[in-house]
Amino acid sequence: MRKLNVFNFVTLNGFFEGPNHDISWHRHGGEENKYSDDSLQAENILLFGRKTYEMMYSFWPTPMAAEMFPETSKGMNKSEKIVFSNSLKKAEWNNSKVIGGNSVEEMKRLKKTKGKDMVILGSGSIVSLFAEAGLIDNFEIMIDPIVIGNGTPIFNGIQNKLDLKLTDTRTFKTGVVLLSYKPLE
């Protein structure tokens, strides 16, 4: 069965975005970008909720993105992408499609089909939904060395506690720490 993974940046107190989707606190250096680019090279399918999709789509296809992050933008634009949304009818971004309906059921079905692994970027609501349904195989959490007072917590709205198993840690020069987990069996 193919894997469903989560890759996200959070503050030390668990916010993945500040008020109004603010992510200006991300402290990405060359090393983190290389890590993201290497992950994109693996050609996993990228998954988003509508809000993250719209944010990503408004940035990655632009000339500015191509100039600032040439490798990442190439990878982002080329990768196969799926948006989970009931309000978005069509995804205009290159190589994207929309899946509507019951996201959990659709994901269960998707995981049983053959194909590439999938990775959710950002997208707090579907991360919570799939985590609660026990559908996530790996969690890669990049912890930025910052605390902010307000925003949207990662795993927002989860009703039941999840116990995970630490599988790896990595420290970047910027002070960002990558913690990798899988569900505790």
Partner: protein, 182 residues
């Protein structure tokens, strides 16, 4: 000048909830070491009410594992300051009750000679972070997503950038991330 240190158990999603953490010997050993490098612990009424009945009892009866008992003895004997406007009196040994002037007290303590000053309460840590008075943060990250409980640094007015100084992994999958104020 003495260092102000805030060490806190936290879940991956940023909740500071003592009930959903892995409280094993290794964790208690870590906190014992931390307390041994400090000579005053500061908290508020909630933390006092939570800590005193349990840890004083363990310190007296030595009812846990040797490592946990040692933590209890260290915690029990360290001088403590409780900030509260509502507590009538304090029963814990070595403990002073103060009504107000957190900022002044901390600034005064920092200037006195001695070991570190440990902060043991989330609300006090938030106020001191806002004032820029915490020198070192130890986030003890448990491999748990809690989904609810009390968020660390909720309603902090300004964001606070930190500098990573050390990481440490415990066998339970707990990762201790140490930072200093930038």
């Amino acid at each position: 000048m003495r260092k102000v240190i805030f060490a806190i158990n936290v879940t991956i999603d940023g909740y500071a909830d003592h009930t959903s953490v892995i409280a094993d010997d290794e964790l208690h050993g870590y906190f014992t070491g931390l307390l041994q490098n400090t000579d005053v612990e500061i908290f508020g009424r909630n933390t006092y009410n939570l800590m005193y009945p349990y840890w004083h009892n363990v310190a007296m009866n030595q009812s846990e594992t040797e490592v946990t008992n040692e933590f209890a003895r260290t915690f029990d004997s360290i001088p403590k300051i409780v900030f509260s406007t509502t507590l009538k009196s304090i029963e814990w040994n070595n403990t002073t009750l103060l009504r107000s002037n957190l900022q002044e007290e901390i600034v005064k303590l920092k200037q006195q000679p001695g070991k570190g000053i440990s902060i043991g309460s989330i609300s006090i840590a938030s106020q001191l972070t806002q004032l820029g008075l915490i020198d070192e943060y130890h986030f003890v990250v448990h491999p748990i997503v809690a989904g609810k409980e009390r968020r660390l640094f909720e309603r902090l007015e300004n964001s606070s950038q930190l500098e990573l100084i050390e990481t440490q992994k415990l066998s339970s999958g707990v990762v201790i991330l140490q930072y200093k104020k930038m």
